[in-house]
């Protein structure tokens, strides 16, 4: 066709305006063709991994080709149906980023820098030069944010388990943007105070615990990102709640880090519905990282509930992602690290000082032979003691405590010796790192037999997290935190299959007292259980029980002995339903060898139930349990168990698999 036209022109047989019309036609056809190509590209682009992750799209369950973004703020999308349609949203973005109105366009770029840069790199935007200049002029807030962060690298920080608060019992994670430093520091983690923490949390709008629990499960609360100085997180977790902080520094390239910051800015200005189980604090830390580095696979293998320590393990499944690990001891750990540097004699002086509340005791004649460095260590330990014991009061600037602590500070200042860095504080205790822990879910299969010669099989599933006898690495010592336990039994003689135990939670927290600290030990559980009374009748109970008591440790924490008083508020599930309040003591002994590879627990409980509060004819239930565990491999254990109730004994052999 083209050659014909050329021939026609050449022959000058047609008029010039006709030629123009023909050229216009050709151009239009070509344009139309390229538009088709363009559209095809855009559609493909809109289902690319990069776009999916930048907009937080997830494939909808039970649908072949439907998507939904986990972001819930409407301002995050440029198309009104953008939350559900990646293609429409991409089209809207291309259209708007190509808008020739300078201020509209610049505002948009400042709002969504990661999207803009990515679309630009894909060559799908129609750009005019003057807009590039405008962007730099207008993004004042965003650049101020970047300048404030001055990020050099990024870490995922794990805040260890905190049993005193149900929301933090499983730990917590957040991002830390590591700031460029002026100079090389003195200690390995000095000067990290000015780093910034990026935290995802729920904006809790109700103090009613029921609304809190139900709302948290159903996504009623809005989840938002916040950027606050890291030292607030340190004070909150390290000091206020006495939890160790473990930082995993990631290997991101400069481009990936830039994209991460851009994307943090994008989601930082909107909200995502917060689900305690799934889309929680730890989950969305991972989705941020996935958006920044597309070859990461962090959220794909997680179950429908996301446990912070599991997300740390996901980091390690991506080879080469974790560059280094650092450990920041809690106020509690710091105090015991300080005590560990003291000799027995120095410890006794520390105790004497704390007891008499007089740091000037060090000036007594009988201590003149003490080296100055030794006095410094004692006083430093006493300051750590205050910080751990009275942090909440110190924080509220409680005058009583300030007055109590002032002479210690004054005395320490007068000594005019600079404290050395405590080397133990700098050391990383591998056994405390969460990624070294066993899998958080456990599947158990047991074979059992009792004195009456009936044999049974027992299946048990534990959704989370740790049993006191499980391998202890990465988990708190002397603690059981079991959530979602289902236990079935099948009697092999009668082929009778029944539910044996169903627990929403079952917690045992042993905090052995020592010469410096007296703390309670406690237990709590909620669920369904079966008990056997004197006439060997099996009773089904549903309800809650809780115990409070004390524990002591021996042989450098290898053995713990405990005693609790247990209160049970249960309902008897039988034809005549009845309240079954009960009370009684529990005593127990727990010990372990070879770094927790072999552990055992012996416990004995007597509980007296008063059916319908009737005190005349109480029901006494006795139960003794002995369990011996061999944590054979990282994620596999063998167990032997004996349960006794005075009338009958059960013997069980079990295998446990952690995943």
């Amino acid at each position: 066709m083209f050659s014909q036209i050329v021939a026609l022109i050449y022959k000058k047989k047609i008029k010039s305006h006709l030629i123009l019309a023909l050229i216009a036609l050709i151009v239009l056809t070509a344009l139309n063709f390229s538009q088709h190509l363009f559209a095809f590209d855009l559609q493909q682009l809109s289902y690319s991994e990069e776009w999916m992750r930048l907009l937080h799209y997830k494939k909808k369950l039970f649908y072949q080709n439907k998507f939904e973004s986990e972001v819930d703020g409407k301002d995050f999308f440029l198309d009104s149906n953008g939350k559900f349609d990646p293609y429409l949203e991409l089209q809207a973005n291309v259209r708007n980023f190509s808008n020739s109105n300078v201020s509209v366009n610049a505002n948009l770029r400042c709002r969504f820098p990661a999207r803009y840069k990515w679309l630009k790199s894909k060559g799908v935007l129609v750009l005019r030069d003057h807009l590039n200049v405008a962007q730099d002029l207008e993004c004042e807030k965003y650049h101020a944010f970047l300048e404030r962060m001055r990020a050099e690298s990024v870490s995922v920080v794990f805040s260890s388990y905190y049993l005193n608060n149900p929301a933090s019992a499983f730990g917590h994670t957040f991002l830390r943007l590591n700031k460029r430093k002026n100079r090389q520091g003195i200690a390995s983690r000095a000067e990290e105070l000015l780093d910034y923490a990026i935290n995802f949390g729920a904006d809790i709008t109700s103090s009613n615990p029921i609304i809190y629990a139900l709302g948290g499960l159903s996504g009623y609360f809005k989840g938002t990102f916040s950027a606050i100085p890291y030292y607030y997180k340190i004070r909150e977790y390290n000091d206020y709640e006495s939890r160790d902080l473990i930082s995993y520094e990631l290997n991101l390239s400069a481009d990936e880090l830039e994209r991460l910051l851009d994307h943090i800015w994008e989601v930082g200005n909107t909200y995502l519905d917060y689900y305690f189980l799934g889309e929680n604090c730890s989950y969305h830390i991972l989705t941020l990282l996935e958006a920044a580095k597309v070859d990461l696979k962090l959220t794909q293998n997680l179950p429908f509930y996301v446990i912070p320590s599991d997300t740390i393990k996901e980091l390690f499944l991506n080879k080469g992602l974790v560059r280094s690990v650092s450990f920041r001891p809690s106020a509690y750990t710091r105090f015991y690290n300080s005590v560990a540097t003291l000799s027995d004699f120095e410890k006794s002086i520390l105790k004497e000082i704390l007891k008499s509340n007089n740091p000037y005791l060090l000036d007594k004649n009988e201590y003149t032979f003490l080296e100055q460095s030794s006095k410094v260590k004692i006083l430093d330990a006493s300051l750590d003691y205050f910080d751990f014991k009275f942090f909440k009061k110190l924080l509220k600037e409680d005058k009583e405590i300030l007055i109590l602590k002032a002479p210690y500070l004054l005395k320490r200042g007068e000594m005019a010796v600079v404290s050395p860095v405590n080397k133990i504080d700098q050391k990383i205790d591998e056994s405390k790192l969460p990624h070294n822990g066993h899998g958080s879910r456990r599947l158990g299969l047991s074979m059992g037999r009792d004195d009456k010669r009936s044999s049974f099989l027992q299946f048990e599933y534990k959704s989370a997290l740790h049993d006191i006898l499980d391998r202890v690495d990465g988990y708190p010592r002397n603690v059981s935190l079991k959530i979602g336990v289902v236990n079935f039994r099948m009697n092999l003689n009668s082929n009778n299959f029944h539910l044996n135990k169903l627990q929403l939670f079952d917690i045992l927290s042993l905090a052995p007292v020592d010469q410096f600290m007296i703390r309670p030990s406690w237990s709590a559980s909620l669920g369904y259980k079966r008990i056997v009374d004197r006439s060997s009748l099996s009773l089904s109970l549903i309800g809650m029980d809780g115990g409070m008591g004390i524990s002591f440790s021996f042989f450098s924490d290898r053995a713990v002995i405990y005693g609790l008083v247990d209160l049970d508020f249960s309902v008897l599930l039988s034809k005549q339903r009845a309240f079954m309040p009960g009370i009684g003591p529990i005593i127990g002994l727990k010990f372990d060898f070879i770094e927790g590879r072999i552990s055992a627990k012996l416990s004995h409980q007597i509980i007296r139930y008063y059916k319908n509060f009737n005190t005349t004819n109480p029901l006494n239930i006795y139960s003794s349990i002995f369990e011996l565990r061999w944590n054979l491999m990282d994620n596999f254990a063998l167990s032997a168990e004996i349960n006794s109730n005075l009338k009958n004994n059960e013997y069980l052999l079990a295998g446990f698999y952690y995943f």
Binding site: A167, P229, Y232, L402
Partner: protein, 166 residues
């Protein structure tokens, strides 16, 4: 079923009563203000910074104590070094007092970094020497504390040479 319901109601009321007991007001500035709200809701503690009304960039100021107006006017990067120290001291008052008395520690390393000092140990010695001057009374507030630190550092002949950012 009724018995369950009763049980549940009693249980939930007892928890509710327990959590209602721990209410504190939110106000003031510094770490305390962020934490008080948290302490008021021990069970609800998830985040310390759920202001929601401010934009992301602005809520990332040093602490509640640097006024928004100032940040808006000067931009976040416009916060001066002594204001940065003030934010640090406000958020870490307990640790600051400890470090001043010990003559070493993270707060001192950080101040040293902000002022770009050559020798953090020297800074520590100087601050420890002046402990009584910096902390003249027990219930000193963060503003006074940080301005006293500033004064000691800027008046010191030793430090004025070795801390170029002063």
């Amino acid at each position: 079923m009724k018995i369950f319901l009763k049980f549940f109601v009693i249980l939930s009321f007892s928890i509710a009563a327990n959590s209602a007991e721990k209410q504190f007001g939110v106000g003031g500035c510094g770490l305390g203000s962020l934490m008080m709200g948290k302490d008021g809701n021990q069970v609800l503690a998830i985040t310390t910074n759920g202001t929601g009304t401010q934009t992301f960039g602005i809520s990332s100021g040093t602490s509640n104590c640097v006024p928004d107006k100032k940040i808006k006017k000067k931009g976040l990067s416009g916060v001066s070094r002594s204001e940065e120290i003030k934010g640090l001291v406000e958020g870490n008052q307990t640790a600051t007092l400890n470090d001043l008395a010990k003559g070493s520690g993270e707060i001192i390393w950080t101040i040293s970094d902000v002022y770009n000092c050559e020798d953090p140990l020297e800074l520590g010695e100087e601050l420890q020497k002046n402990y009584k001057k910096i902390v003249p009374k027990v219930d000193i507030d963060a503003t006074e504390l940080s301005s006293n630190i500033d004064k000691v550092i800027s008046k010191s002949d030793v430090l004025s040479n070795s801390c170029p950012n002063l």
